[in-house]
Symmetry: C2
Subunit: 326 residues, 2 copies
């Protein structure tokens, strides 16, 4: 099989990889996601990232077996379209990502949900390899989830896996999605940042924003949180403690319902904070697990921040892409 490319299309960065037949990374490139313009500009930036990754892998983009894209927003994998991706510029309507990207690169293109493809990557090549059922939890700006049952991704009617919007506290905190008491309202990086800004305005002392500025950031990234925790910052510690408590309850609830063998913790915060924090999540799950004599295994995502792009590449198959017709 020829080389496959995969792209993780995120709100801040576009990560591209080129994989060999066994899933090894031969080349990788990371570009910032355009913050202005619209879908054609974003897809052009995706194509540029793929070309750079191909160059590093010493192959011409046109020689690739194909390219897969893991995207946020409302993804129609059969049609190859992305609709209303709020974290991407000018993307309120629908855009044929697979067709336009395939045309641009001259290779067949596949499209999938970003969290789903990251889950499949961990299942096939990462920390989920020993298991036939698992829950992928992507702890980042939001909290996403992917469900593998009996060796296959379970998507329900198309939107299974929304663990971030499981209710962990009736009448609880307001979630960025607008609802009350969601897991993401406590554990999402975005929600934590909003709360930190509010507390800063109310006079709470914290190093979080000083670290942010020192690093030339405009957001409280995972790295900013990690540094603040290292420095013993009280607000950061309190927000992360609260996130871990909510993650423990939400993940345990999910396991009580579907009783999977393993939980894989990925996402920006999950990967940056790593095993010590995955261990803490595991401990917070225990008091809520119904079959607590047989807890699931809990691992950090093994593919790190290349997992999404790797999973996207795995969508590339020997046959033709439905979305591009190539």
């Amino acid at each position: 099989m020829a080389l496959r490319a995969g792209v993780d299309l995120g709100g801040t960065k576009i990560q591209a990889v080129v994989l060999d037949a066994s899933g090894g990374v031969l080349g990788a490139a990371r570009h910032p996601t355009p913050t202005t313009g619209g879908p054609p500009d974003v897809v052009a930036a995706v194509a540029a990232a793929v070309r750079e990754a191909a160059q590093k892998a010493d192959v011409d983009a046109g020689e690739l077996a194909g390219v897969g894209v893991g995207s946020p927003g409302d993804v129609d994998d059969r049609a190859g379209t992305v609709t209303s991706a709020r974290n991407l510029p000018g993307w309120s309507g629908s855009f044929p990502v697979a067709a336009v990207l395939g045309e641009e690169l001259g290779v067949p293109a596949w499209l999938g949900n970003d969290v789903d493809v990251a889950t499949i990557a961990e299942f096939e090549l990462g920390a989920g390899q020993p298991y036939t059922s698992l829950l992928g939890v992507f702890w980042g700006t939001g909290v996403g989830g992917g469900v593998v049952l009996d060796g296959r991704l379970w998507r329900g009617r198309a939107s299974a896996g929304e663990i971030g919007h499981m209710v962990v506290k009736l009448g609880g905190a307001r979630c960025p999605c607008g609802r009350l008491g969601c897991l993401e309202a406590y554990a999402g990086r975005g929600a934590m940042e909003a709360r930190a800004r509010k507390e800063l305005g109310e006079g709470t002392r914290t190093e979080l924003f000083k670290i942010m500025e020192k690093r030339g950031r405009t957001r409280l990234t995972s790295g900013v949180f990690a540094r603040a925790l290292d420095q013993g910052d009280r607000l950061a510690t309190r927000l992360i403690d609260r996130a871990i408590e909510a993650l423990g309850a939400g993940i345990a609830s999910a396991v009580n319902l579907i009783d999977v063998e393993a939980v894989i913790i990925g996402g920006g915060l999950g990967i940056r904070l790593g095993q010590p924090y995955a261990d803490r999540i595991e401990r917070e799950m225990l008091p809520h697990l119904f079959s607590d004599y047989r807890p699931p295994a809990v691992h950090v995502a093994a593919l790190g921040d290349l997992g999404g792009a790797t999973g996207a590449a795995l969508m590339v198959q020997g046959d033709r892409s439905v979305a591009t017709g190539l």
Copy 2:
């Protein structure tokens, strides 16, 4: 195919049915569950209920194709054993229910989890027939759940479906299971009764216990709650409102995770309170559903309180029972 018998073995009653080939009920019998003795006494009572149901169906128990039993406790369906069923008398150890019952009746016997078989009954013969994926919610003394995905019961590592122990309120009420904030802590009949007794002791005025006594009961049964609601009893109304709020959040959380097509509400309270209350649960789900433009269908269990026994009978197959060797 010859006639099949099924038994729903509950903490208060033993319900037996005899089904024809298409799942129609030809005979039924209900006996009280022994409150003293041990597993052999319970199994003898199960055999008596089967014999009576067979008699009503005009067939000899020994001529049945077999008998299935849906049981509480820790059920090993392959071994045909039930371990530590806390609602059954003297049942702390393990007992070979299928083997002893099969021997007693002279027919092969099957054993399954009570909630799983009730879910399968609704899926194959009841309100779940139009769907390929559903969540069965059994709202009774506890809150049990069964998960059907892609046309098959999903059991995970053996204990999937514990929706009653999904966390709906971090740091919330104490559940009969000992944990904090479980759905069952708010919605289980047992938990509601405990709270009603506590409030009565604190001076809250309620008709609940007068209705209970008038009916010659010692527990706040589903019927007692239903009558108190009809009379506008404030405590009963408040407890049921709280239960429905928690059910809405817990079921919506489950749907956000596994995105099933339908939710079937069964169990003693679910069936007794019926469609108006299922409609209220559906409304309480909406604010928590992530894909709220496409909510699942919500139905009351169509097989009523014969669902568990009917589902147990469906376990009887043409081939031999692993558990009994017959």
